[in-house]
């Protein structure tokens, strides 16, 4: 079983539409990260959130950390084909420092 559950597993949308990816757990995390991975490459960090209720914006991407630090979401506004990729959430448990990864959400943005 995954410590972090991501949904949906796959998402295909038209250019210009909005999308939201969710990352949920029953465990409390001291921090949570979102990575993006393109085919044939390793994951690349997009953002780290550390405070419950925190919202961070990165251009058209908005990241939110739940108040209880058990969940997070990634919202993309006006998606573009360049946003296509595998989005992974990864968390650090309060009593650890190693990352636990979700299974990922594959996002396809059609032109």
């Amino acid at each position: 079983t995954q410590l972090l559950e991501q949904s949906p597993q796959f998402l295909s949308i038209q250019e210009g539409e909005n999308l939201t990816v969710y990352c949920n757990s029953s465990s409390v995390f001291s921090s949570l990260q979102w990575y993006r991975q393109e085919p044939g490459e390793g994951p690349v960090l997009l953002v780290t959130v550390v405070t419950g209720g925190e919202v961070k914006k990165l251009k058209r991407l908005t990241f939110q950390f739940g108040d209880a630090r058990k969940d997070s979401s990634l919202h993309i506004t006006a998606a573009q084909p360049g946003d296509t990729g595998l989005y992974l959430c990864a968390g650090v448990l309060s009593n650890d420092y190693k990352l636990s990864f979700g299974a990922g959400t594959t996002v396809t943005v059609r032109a």
């Binding site: 995954q2 972090l4 991501q6 597993q9 001291s30 921090s31 990260q33 044939g40 490459e41 390793g42 994951p43 690349v44 960090l45 780290t48 550390v50 992974l88 990864a90 650090v92 420092y97 190693k98 990352l99 990864f101 979700g102 299974a103 990922g104």
Partner: protein, 114 residues
């Protein structure tokens, strides 16, 4: 800076063969990690190292071994390869983690065991 480099990029092994996946980083990071990525399963931690001479098991260590003789290199050894080890392997490095540090990933090695 080359960052994290991995060789080979692709490899096909027969059942029972052995091989070493190479990983090197030039960022002077103390912490290094090996993950495997299977479709729909995310990344699973195999082994990690907090510095030269120190290694520890992750979530899925069976069938693998590691060594860390230098800060830069962290090779992963597969002994007696099995089809269940077919996967994409990623090496990563970071500074001593405080929970907010970025892990830097290599481009991966795609391994097929037949």
């Amino acid at each position: 800076n080359a960052g994290v480099t991995q060789t080979p990029k692709f490899r096909i092994l027969k059942i029972g063969q052995s091989m070493t996946l190479q990983c090197a980083q030039d960022m002077n990071h103390n912490y290094m990690y090996w993950y495997r990525q299977d479709p729909g399963m995310g990344l699973k931690l195999i082994y990690y190292s907090v510095g030269a001479g120190i290694t520890d098991k992750g979530e899925v260590p069976n069938g693998y071994n590691v060594s860390r003789s230098t800060t830069e290199d962290f090779p992963l050894r597969l002994e007696l390869a099995a089809p269940s080890q077919t996967s994409v392997y990623f090496c990563a490095s970071s500074r001593p983690p405080t929970g907010v540090d970025e892990q830097y990933f290599g481009p991966g090695t795609r391994l097929t065991v037949t």
